[in-house]
Amino acid sequence: MSVKHLLAFFIILTGFFKVFAWQEPVDTVRLGEVIVIAGHPTLQQRSPVPMQQMLSPNLAIISGASAAEALRNFGGVTIKDYGGIGGLKTVMVRSLGANHTSVMLDGIPLNDAATGQTDLGKIPLINLESITLFVGQPLHLLQPARFYASANVIDIRTKPFSPDENDIKTRAGIRSGSFGIINPFFSTNAEVFKNTNAGINFSYTSAHGEYTFQNPYSSEQQIRTNSDIEAMNTSVYLRHRLKEHSYLQIDAWYYNSERGLPGAVILYNTHTSQRLWNEDFSVNLRYENSHPEKLQMLSLARFSNAWLHYLEKNYLNQQGQLSNTFSQQEYYFSQAFVYPLNSDLKVSMASDLFINSLDSNLPGFAEPLRYSWLTNLGARYERNRLYAQANLLSTLVNDQAQQSQSTATQSALSPSFSLAYRLTSSEPLLRLRFMYKNIFRMPTFNDLYFARVGNPDLRPEYAQQFNLGMMAGYDRNGFLSLSGSADIFYNAVKDKILAIPTQNLFVWSMQNIGKVDIRGLELQLQGQYNPGSSFAAGFFANYTLQRAIDITRDNASWYRHQIPYIPRESFSGGINFEYENFSLGFNSLFNGHRYVLAENIYQNMLPSWWHHDVVAGYQFRTGKTIFQIRFEVNNLLDRQYEVIRSFPMPGRGYFVRVEAGF
C-alpha cells in the first residue's frame, strides 16, 4: 500500500465521517474572557496544542506549599527542586530548559529578566483556582503577544480573581505542620460600588525548614539547617464593569521574603551561611472588551520592580562577606485585538512593548537595558470538526549595556500552527491534533553580562516543537466521564546556551554550543465517576517517556547521551474519593534515574524515586459558612531522594489545614 493509497483512504474515511457529522456537543463556550477557561474542562479534550489543567478541586488533593507541588504532577514536566520550603523550584517542559517556559500569574509574566526563570516556590498553592500548562501557547485569542513568545506557558490563576462556583466571597484559614510551617491565608472580594468589585488575596509563610536527611554520600543522618523562610504574598484588585463584556481593572502584587539558603550538602563540611532577601512589586492596569460578535480589545500597562539581596557571611574575601544586591525594573505595554470575520474565522493581533533594566552593586556591572517589541498576528478557524490556529510572532530586541558600550539588536519571525480534527461524531469522541512551533529564547541578562561569565556576543537559543497526538473523550451524562490523550513529540534545540569553563574552572563563559534532539511520548488518562448519590470518585494518570540527547559534537564522550536532569521516564497519578462530607486523595510520583552531568555514567547518576502523598478532608456547612479541615501526609514512605545532586529532599511531613469560607 503506497503513501498515495494511504492518503486516499484517509480522505475517504474522513469524508465518510463528515456525512454523519453530528452537532458538536461541547462547542458552545466562547473563549473571550479568560476566566471562562478556568471553569471549562472540556477545552482540554479538544485543544489542538497539548494542554493540561488542574482546577481547584484537583488542586485540593495536592499536598504541598507551592504551585511546584501541583505542577510536578503534569505530564512532560520536570521540576528542578532544590528541596525544602524555601528551595528554588523551576520548571522544564518536554526537556526544554526552564528559560523556555513562561509562567503567568493572573495574566502577569513572572519570569526574571536576570535568570529568565521563575521560582515556583514564590507562588503559594493555597488559593489557586487553576494551573494550566500549554505546550506552544494558550488558546485564547485575546491575549498579549508575550503569551506567544515561549515554547511553553504555565497559566496560573488565583481564586479572588476568578468567579467562585459556590459563591464564596471570603476565605480564611491556616496550614501548619512539619518543618515548623505556619501558613495563614485570607482572601475576600466584594462589590464595593455599583459594578465595581474589589478583592484581596494574602498569604504568609514562616518555617524553620529544618529536616533530617540521610547524607547521600555517606549515609549519615544529618539535619538540614539554615533553611528557614519567611514570606508574604499579597495581591489586590479593583475591577469596574463598564458594559456587559468590558471592564477596567487595576491590580497589584507584592511579594516579600527572607530565607536561608542551606546550599549543597558538602561532605565533611556542614557550614552554611547564605541568606537571600526578595522584594517584588508590580502594578497593572488593564482594559478588556470581549464582546463575542464585535471587535475585542485588551489593553495592558504594567510596572514591576524586583529586588534581591544575596548575603554570604564568612566569605573569605577582604570584607569577610559577600553582599550583592540586584534590582530590576520592567515597563510593559500591550495592546491586543480580536476581530471575528465570520462565525468560523477570527483574526487577532497583539503588540507588546517592554523595557527591562537590571542594576547591581557588583563592581563594573554592565547595567543592561533591553527594549523588546513583540507583535503577533493570529487566525483561528473553528467549524464543526476542525479547530485550526496559526500565529506569526515577530520579535525585535535591542540590548544596551554600559560595559560593552554597544547595542545589539536581534530580530526573528516565529511561526506556529496547530490543528485539531474530530474523527468521530458520537461517544467516544476521538480527535487528532498536530502542532508546530518555531520559537527561541533570548539570552538572559546573566547569560550576556554577568561578571566574567557573561558573553555579550550570544545569539538566541532556538527550539522547534512538533506534536502529533490523539485525544479521546467519553462522557455518559456526567455520570461517568473519561478522557485521555496520547502524544508523540519532537523538539530540536540548536545554539543552546551553556556555561563552559574557558581558562580554568574559575572562569566559565556562556556559549551558544549545544544541540539537543528530543523525542518523547506522553500518555494521559483521567476520569470522573459521579453517580449522583453522595459518592464520587476521580483519577488521573500521566506517563512520559523522553529521550533528550546531546548531539553537539560527535567526538565527545557524551555524544547522544541523555541531557542532565531529564528522566527518561516519569509517571504521576492520583485517585480521589468523596463520600458525603469526607474526601480522600492519594497521589504518586515516579521519576526515573537521571544524570547530573553530560556523561551517562554511574558516577553521574541520581537514582529514580517514588513519592506518595495522602490527603484526607472533612467539610461541613453551618448557615452560609463552609468549614473545611484537611490532613496531609507528604512523602508517605519517608523516601530519601534528591532531585538536584547534593540537595536532598525532605522526608515525611504531616500537615493540617483548616479553612472557613462564606
Binding site: 554520600y217 555517606s218 546550599g263 549543597a264 550538602v265 558538602i266 561532605l267 565533611y268 563540611n269 557550614h271 564568612n314 566569605y315 573569605l316 574575601n317 577582604q318 563592581p363 563594573g364 561578571a451 566574567r452 461517568l480 473519561l482 563552559i500 569553563p501 574557558t502 581558562q503 580554568n504 574552572l505 572562569v507 563563559s509 500518555l523 488518562l525 476520569g527 465517576y529 453517580p531 470518585a537 483519577f539 494518570a541 506517563y543 565527545a556 564522550s557 557524551w558 527518561r568 521516564e569 509517571f571 497519578g573 515516579f590 526515573g592 534515574h593 547530573v596 552531568l597 553530560a598 556523561e599 551517562n600 555514567i601 554511574y602 558516577q603 547518576m605 529514580s608 545532586r645 547534593s646
Partner: protein, 365 residues
C-alpha cells in the same frame, strides 16, 4: 461503576511502561587491584558542590588504572573539590578545598592515615596547596593562613598569617613562599608573594609580582618560579622568577603568556590557553639556565590535548604527564610523554584531573 472499576484495573498498565530502563550499576574495582608500589596518583578535582572529587592510581607495572582508588581503599568518598596533591615521606597529602579537609594517605596503599579538618571555629578555611620542609608540611588556605603540620604526628602546630586567598606554596633556601591571589576580591586581586622564614615561622617579607599569583615551584638552584594570572581582562598572565637569596623579583618572561607550568630537571614546561584563538594550548619548554624557549611545542607527535588542565614532570625519568579535562564535565585523561615529547601511554581518570604525583616504594624523592 463496573466500567470505572475496570479502569482502575487498567491503571497498572501504565506501570508496565515504567522502569523499562535499568539504572547503571556501580563499577566493581575490587577484583583487579594489584600493587606494584610504582605508579602515579592523579587528583581529579571534580565539580564544585558535587562531592565528586576522586583519586586515580595508575600502576606503572601492571599498566592499570583505578578510579576511584581512594574510595576503593577507604570505603568512603574523598569529598568536594580536590585542589592539590603532593607526596612526601611516604605519605600523600590531598588538599580538599570544598570539604575543607586535608587528607593524608599512606602512599604505598592509598589508605587514609588522617583526615585533618581545616576550620576556624565553624568557618571553613579551604586548604589550597601544600609544600614541605624539614619534616613539616605547610598548607596554605584561602582564609589567609599557612598551617604548619608535623609530618610524623600529623598535628597542626601553628597557623601563620599571610596575604589574601593564598593559592600556591613552595619552599626554598629554608624559607616558605606563598602566592597571595586575592582571588575572592575580584577585580581587586592581590599581587604579592609572602616569605616565611622556617626558623621564626613568621612572615618576613612580601614580594610584589603580577596580579593574582598562583602556581609556585622551586628549581634545583633554589630559584622560585611563580605565575601571576592577571585579572582575566587587560592584564596578562606571566611567569616570574624570584631569587631566594635576595627575595627579589629578578625576571619576568614578557615575550609569552603563561597560564600554568611545571619544572622538570633543567626545563620549565609552560602552557597557555588563548581562549579567543580557539583554546588550543601548546606546551613550551624553557631552559632554566639560559631562560630561552627551547621548544615552542613540546609534544612531538600527533597527540592532541583537548583541555589541558594539569602538568607534572618526573624529575628522575624526565617523563612529563599532562592531564586533559576534555569538556570539564566528563571523564578526563592523563598522557605520559617521554622527555622528547613522544607519547608513551595514556589512561582515563575522573572528572577534571589536575594535580599529580609519582610514587616509587623504595626510591621516592
Amino acid at each position: 461503576m463496573k466500567t470505572f472499576l475496570k479502569l482502575f484495573i487498567l491503571l497498572p498498565v501504565f506501570a508496565i511502561f515504567i522502569s523499562c530502563e535499568k539504572e547503571p550499576e556501580a563499577p566493581d574495582n575490587s577484583d583487579d587491584i594489584t600493587l606494584s608500589g610504582k605508579g602515579i596518583y592523579v587528583l581529579n578535582e571534580g565539580l564544585f558542590n558535587m562531592n565528586n572529587s576522586t583519586l586515580t592510581w595508575y600502576d606503572f607495572e601492571t599498566e592499570q588504572e583505578v578510579t576511584d582508588w581512594f574510595e576503593t581503599q577507604n570505603d568512603r568518598k574523598l569529598g568536594d573539590t580536590g585542589n592539590d596533591l603532593k607526596i612526601y615521606g611516604g605519605k600523600v597529602y590531598i588538599m580538599m578545598s570544598g570539604s575543607s579537609q586535608v587528607e593524608v594517605l599512606n602512599a604505598s596503599n592509598g589508605k587514609s592515615l588522617m583526615q585533618i579538618p581545616f576550620f576556624d571555629g565553624e568557618i571553613p578555611r579551604q586548604p589550597r596547596s601544600v609544600a614541605f620542609l624539614h619534616n613539616k608540611a605547610f598548607v596554605c588556605s584561602f582564609d589567609g593562613t599557612v598551617a604548619v603540620i608535623d609530618t610524623t604526628s600529623l598535628q597542626i602546630e601553628k597557623y601563620i598569617s599571610v596575604g589574601r586567598n593564598p593559592d600556591g606554596i613552595t619552599t626554598s633556601n629554608n624559607k616558605i613562599y606563598v602566592a597571595n591571589s586575592g582571588g575572592l576580591d575580584f577585580p581587586n586581586y592581590d599581587n604579592t608573594v609572602s616569605v616565611i622564614h622556617f626558623d621564626t615561622m613568621e612572615e618576613t617579607k612580601k614580594i610584589t609580582v603580577g596580579s593574582n599569583p598562583y602556581t609556585l615551584e622551586t628549581d634545583e638552584n633554589g630559584n622560585v618560579y611563580v605565575i601571576s594570572r592577571g585579572n582575566y581582562d587587560d592584564e596578562g598572565m606571566f611567569l616570574h622568577i624570584i631569587d631566594s637569596q635576595s627575595d627579589e623579583l629578578i625576571h619576568t618572561f614578557t615575550d609569552f603568556q603563561a597560564m600554568n607550568f611545571t619544572l622538570g630537571k633543567n626545563l620549565a614546561y609552560v602552557y597557555h590557553i588563548d581562549w579567543m584563538s580557539g583554546g588550543i594550548a601548546s606546551i613550551m619548554a624553557i631552559d632554566l639556565e639560559t631562560r630561552a624557549v627551547v621548544s615552542e611545542n613540546f609534544i612531538n607527535d600527533d597527540t592532541e590535548i583537548e583541555s589541558i588542565y594539569g602538568i607534572y614532570a618526573d624529575k628522575t625519568t624526565g617523563e612529563v604527564f599532562i592531564s586533559d579535562a576534555k569538556g570539564f564535565v566528563s571523564t578526563g585523561m592523563v598522557y605520559c610523554f617521554d622527555s622528547n615529547g613522544n607519547k608513551k601511554y595514556s589512561f582515563p581518570t575522573g572528572l577534571n584531573p589536575g594535580a599529580m604525583g609519582v610514587y616509587y616504594t623504595q626510591s621516592e624523592k
